[in-house]
Symmetry: C2
Subunit: 132 residues, 2 copies
Amino acid sequence: MEAATKQFRKRNAILACLQRTHNHPSAEMVYDMLRQEYPDISLATVYRNLARFKSQGLVNSVATVGGAERFDAVMAPHVHFICTGCDAVMDLPQMELPQSLRAEAERTSGCCVQDCRLTFTGLCERCKTRNP
Amino acid sequence: MEAATKQFRKRNAILACLQRTHNHPSAEMVYDMLRQEYPDISLATVYRNLARFKSQGLVNSVATVGGAERFDAVMAPHVHFICTGCDAVMDLPQMELPQSLRAEAERTSGCCVQDCRLTFTGLCERCKTRNP
DNA sequence: GTCTGTGCAAATTGTTTGCACGCAA
DNA sequence: TTGCGTGCAAACAATTTGCACAGAC
């Protein structure tokens, strides 16, 4: 990491963490992951930067699971699956999100549609076998 | 209201409130609406009964908007629109939710899909004209 | 010197819980 | 007399905010 980025080291680390991971972490999960490399990082810094990224359009909030907001750095609309057994949030990359949906929503509702989200809930493969 | 229901008067009122309104209220919104008829109702009672309804499959949580969970007594999967300007949550009844999606999700993911939710965000008609 | 990013602790907010009371079976 | 629904207040958990400090410009 170059010297010039020292000022933004933690901010960059938070964004990089979101871009690197695919588990759609909560603020606390990001905090826990970064604590290894930045032992003095504060949870408030994570929250502050997540809010900033969101308002900049760098990060989306995917859902709130078990009371905690979950974040995603993949901005292209895609399909998610949330496991009610283990609170995992994952992508369903095989599934296409029909482009026509957004236009159709805008036409039938008269609203200005900015985002579209298709989310399934249920039990993931692991929880499926554990729970009867 | 018959005498027999006195025991469940508030519980019934909470459910009826959800079934009657279409604004997908939060616990606090339900509380405020019921306070007119039941001035001594408690927010804890609303939360307790909402949790009960949810576990009984009588009520779904649609989304959490501005930190507060929003509820819906319409259990059939349907499409929602959330306005980021005024935090309104509304139905898009004109839009069909393709039945095939759930099966496709189950097939491609290997998960056990229990629920499907299609949600658009943006600005409603009123906020659209207010915000530039 | 000014501005910005941050740690820390306190505050805020949505939600849950423990306890006591009152009514129904 | 046992159980359930409730109000109230306290507890909790996720998130936000005020303040002081350090480093970048």
